[in-house]
Symmetry: C2
């Protein structure tokens, strides 16, 4: 990452990390600020960041080195493709050359490609908003008066501004995001992974919004304990469809909303009473369980994420077909998804950063609306349980032993 | 489009046009050179393009206007989303303002968004190569000595160079592709369609390569006249799998190749004797025909592209799930796809720019390898028929009446 403080670097690093992890690339974020707080304690005021303060400078360099040591140790010991995100200001050419140099010494052990992501924001209002919303909650300012903290943080930014050099080295691989993506510059991008990250970053936005999701109402097949098929709602499922509009209205107010369903009748029926624009996605259809072979099913818990039914799909397959849906979801504002158990598990895992082995066991009960509100450092979750009985389709992970 | 002559503008325009058409967006390219040739005749030598030549200037402006008139007439009469590509040099700020002004007068009738795609190439070698490969074949130089033609074309470029202004107007939506995409600049990109085009352009490459494709060898289900399922090869299908390695070697030589299959046994078995790296794509699995309802099937020919089997897929669904595969195919070099009838029809239609109503009836016979070699203005096709009998699974479009 490259950029002055309060330019959304950590937000971007976290989002990219979660996205890559979700599509199956082993990814970890190394935040230099955390190393500094651990080594030097929190509550460092702006003087610590003054380039003319040799003591502060030395300590900041130590934190940067320690984070880089851990990063290089981690990435060179991972199997297969891995991505490490080095989350710090890296705001001078000298510092960026140091990063390249450190990585070069590891080239023998791992093929490291370095890509810089710079976030530039020239709008002082946006920066101040970011300081208020994020930085004042940071451990650096625990117990400090907000006004004083804001003043101190602006002083800290000034120290970096005096030596800031935007990324423009022609031999570096980089993407510059200028003023909330109104201009994007991309240099020497190579390979699939880098181009995926660029595309993802171009689709991200930072406006406030909510994502609601719910499974379809209880279906006839749920009641009968069958999976697959394209059944209609049970009478209790219909009651749920009738109750949804009020619940959404109570928790959304008068904002705009778009409803996404699969192409299956039970989701379309569940959405039928909602007074919002609707879109059907084939990619939101339930995991295809293929043909049933009871002898296969017994082994499914050994690795449920990768288990593919004969002629059907695994959770891994579902993540791949959902990827364009998630990209579009990042671009959109308020969305309500009426979906299916396996599909919503994948979507939930994306936003909540849950690992693949837990994903197939996430609880997404019937007759419950989940609301996620993305914030700078994660998602706020609220669950609304509608008081209409439904069968429980959850099967917990069997205990080993 | 924006750029000096011989910068690949027409190649880019054609590729973007074919891609958008394939994903379902009504798209048409308006090439100003064609209008000029029609109005003024071919064989205009470089003096015609000299900005100091008032007669040439007036005639070129007339061709530009006529193309723009047709473009605006076309796009404002299309229903739904449509994209018109205005393929000309548009190399001055004045000309770009004229384009915006022309579009603005049509704003009342259609919501037109204007996006500029600039192709910049600073490498004289690459430009000369492009002149030799493409421009000397152009109608402008039919019957002219190649050396003289190349000299004349370089003079033509000089005329444009003298007044060329790269796109940098801050209020324009644009993407600049510099030196075969080694640097990309993106400004004020808004909305889904623009961001798809940007991502597509970042994945395009212009290196020479081949795409081979073949259906799996004849399967047991082919012989029995069944569709769907995951059957193995028939004895004749196995013979085909044995014959493939020599056929590919004879027509590829010693170049690298990667083999893509679906996850179905008949494609994996067909690829099993090939001595190249292999990759299985779930997204290459055959169109899912769902459950069979004979009364539905009778109507399928009315609109075969959009017809979705109950609980299964339409050709439209298949195009959507293939889109990431095509994006990856654009990024790769030599690829051999061992696939299925409906899937290969979609891929063939992409490269050969066939309309959606013809797509479901494209002939992709068993035991035949198709080789496509992308060129500047389309694809060269070669078909290799292997002399092993197989059933014919093609069903032509019924004649109306």
């Amino acid at each position: 990452m490259v950029g002055l403080p309060a330019r959304g670097k950590t937000f971007i690093a976290q989002k990219v990390g979660r996205y890559l992890q979700w599509v199956g690339v082993n990814t970890r974020v190394f935040n230099v600020g955390e190393y500094r707080r651990e080594q030097c304690g929190a509550h460092q005021l702006h003087n610590f960041f003054d380039p003319e303060n040799p003591e502060g400078k030395r300590k900041r360099q130590e934190a940067a080195s320690a984070a880089m040591d851990d990063l290089l140790h981690w990435i060179t010991n991972e199997e297969g493709t891995a991505v490490a995100i080095y989350d710090a200001t890296n705001s001078t050419q000298e510092r960026r050359r140091w990063i390249l140099e450190r990585c070069r010494t590891y080239q023998a052990r791992a093929q490291l490609q370095v890509m810089f992501i710079e976030s530039v924001c020239e709008d002082e209002e946006v920066v101040m908003e970011n300081i208020r919303a994020v930085k004042l909650q940071s451990p650096d300012y625990a117990g400090v008066d907000p006004e004083a903290a804001a003043r101190d943080f602006r002083e800290r930014i000034r120290h970096y501004e005096s030596s800031y050099e935007p990324v423009q080295e022609r031999d570096l691989t980089y993407i510059r995001l200028v003023n909330v993506r109104s201009q994007v510059v991309v240099n020497l991008i190579r390979g699939y992974l880098q181009s995926r990250v660029v595309y993802y970053l171009m689709n991200l936005h930072v406006s406030r919004r909510c994502i609601f999701f719910s499974r379809h109402g209880e279906s006839m097949f749920n009641v009968e304990g069958k999976i697959g098929g394209d059944s209609l709602l049970s009478p209790r499922g219909e009651q749920y469809a009738n109750a949804l509009p009020q619940l959404i209205k109570d928790n959304l107010g008068s904002e705009n909303l778009t409803v996404w369903t699969s192409t299956m009748r039970r989701t379309i029926q569940t959405a039928s009473k909602l007074p919002y624009p609707k879109l059907q996605w084939k990619a939101l259809d339930e995991l295809n369980a293929g043909e049933k072979y009871p002898e296969d099913y017994a082994n499914r818990d050994d690795d449920k994420f990768n288990y593919r039914y004969r002629g059907g799909e695994s959770y891994r397959d579902v993540v791949l077909r959902l990827e364009p849906v998630m990209m579009e979801l990042e671009r959109q504002h308020n969305i309500l998804i009426i979906g299916h158990q396996a599909i919503l598990r994948c979507i939930y895992a994306y936003f909540m950063n849950l690992p693949r082995d837990e994903l197939p066991y996430i609880r997404v009960p019937l007759h419950t609306v989940i609301r996620l509100a993305p914030k700078a450092y994660g998602c706020e979750e609220t669950r609304f349980r509608v008081n209409i009985e439904a069968v429980d389709t959850h099967r917990p992970k069997p205990q080993a032993g």
